[in-house]
């Protein structure tokens, strides 16, 4: 059941990104270009998506357990720290430069393998560079 739910989640997410136009980097950059030819469409993605996700979260909390054998999410309310702030600045800069965030990058792999492939490989490299650096620092 867990694999089925996960597959359905991936299908919904991939369809949503495609339908919303987030698989077109120019549309994402148009959304970020508020002082130019602004395309505010992606506000509607968040405005529609967040309340639906909120319902799912509330249902999980009300039930006290999930629909599968997996345990309920428990994330303590964390603090805003330096890695969160610096990481988000770097991510936002990359998002602006390329018009890709991780989901649309992966979702475009079969549609635009040349461009999305380069993006995803570079993204994975960036992730590995970060994780490697962390390991060295902790050692």
């Amino acid at each position: 059941m867990i694999a089925v739910f996960a597959l359905v989640m991936g299908v919904l997410f991939g369809a949503g990104l495609y339908v919303a136009g987030m698989t077109n980097p120019a549309k994402v950059q148009g959304f970020l270009d508020i002082s130019g030819a602004w395309d505010p469409s992606l506000i509607f993605v968040m405005a529609a998506g967040i309340p639906v996700a909120w319902v799912g979260y509330q249902l999980m909390k009300r039930r006290g357990h999930t629909l599968t054998t997996m345990p309920m999410l428990e994330i303590p309310q964390g603090v805003v720290d330096r890695p969160l702030v610096v990481g988000s600045v770097l991510f936002g800069a990359g998002w602006g430069i390329g018009g890709f965030c991780p989901g649309p990058g992966v979702a475009s792999l079969l549609l635009e393998p040349a461009t999305a492939g380069v993006f995803v490989i570079a993204m994975i490299a960036g992730m590995l560079i970060h994780d490697r650096k962390g390991k060295t620092a902790n050692a």
């Binding site: 867990i2 694999a3 739910f5 996960a6 359905v8 989640m9 991936g10 997410f13 949503g16 990104l17 495609y18 136009g21 987030m22 698989t23 980097p25 970020l32 469409s41 509607f44 993605v45 968040m46 529609a48 998506g49 967040i50 309340p51 639906v52 996700a53 909120w54 799912g56 979260y57 999930t66 599968t68 997996m70 999410l73 994330i75 964390g78 805003v80 702030v85 990481g87 988000s88 600045v89 770097l90 991510f91 936002g92 800069a93 990359g94 998002w95 602006g96 390329g98 989901g103 990058g105 992966v106 979702a107 475009s108 079969l110 549609l111 461009t115 960036g126 992730m127 560079i129 970060h130």
Partner: protein
């Protein structure tokens, strides 16, 4: 310049929201794509490899929808150098900041996480500034 498509945006948003809602309700997980990929790189796709099943759906579905009902959005990307720089920054930044547009922007906002709200404001702000500097200061991408 792209066309304003609020209905397509809202429909897509509901589908993404349903995915995130199922993530909480069925799996007790945050549907955060940078997290799923980042953990997957260490071979940790989670219980019954749920992360891998999710990624298969995420990769295959847009192609399938494109064959059946192609959208009018099209595809227009910057040059290879920009795409590589973007990928490196997105990968490094999302690992450092513990999330991206899905994990912080949709899932975290939905559970009113202060960290996610701050992260979302910062990465949208940084994206806005970056595009403004590229387009209107340096004149990249018209």
């Amino acid at each position: 310049m792209t066309e304003f498509t609020p209905v397509a945006g809202a429909v897509g948003g509901v589908l993404i929201g349903l995915s995130a809602a199922l993530g909480y309700l069925a799996l007790g997980k945050v549907t955060g794509i940078s997290g799923i990929i980042g953990r997957g790189l260490t071979g940790a796709f989670g219980h019954q490899n749920w992360g891998l099943w999710f990624l298969i759906g995420l990769i295959v579905t847009p192609w399938v929808v494109h064959q059946i009902a192609p959208s009018e959005h099209g595809f227009q990307a910057p040059g290879t150098a920009a795409v590589i720089a973007a990928g490196l920054l997105v990968g490094y930044g999302t690992r450092m900041g513990s999330g991206c547009t899905s994990g912080h922007g949709i899932c975290g906002m939905a559970r009113v996480s202060v960290r996610s709200i701050v992260a979302t404001m910062i990465f949208v702000g940084a994206g806005v500034v970056t595009v403004a500097v590229m387009r209107h200061v340096f004149g990249v991408f018209g």
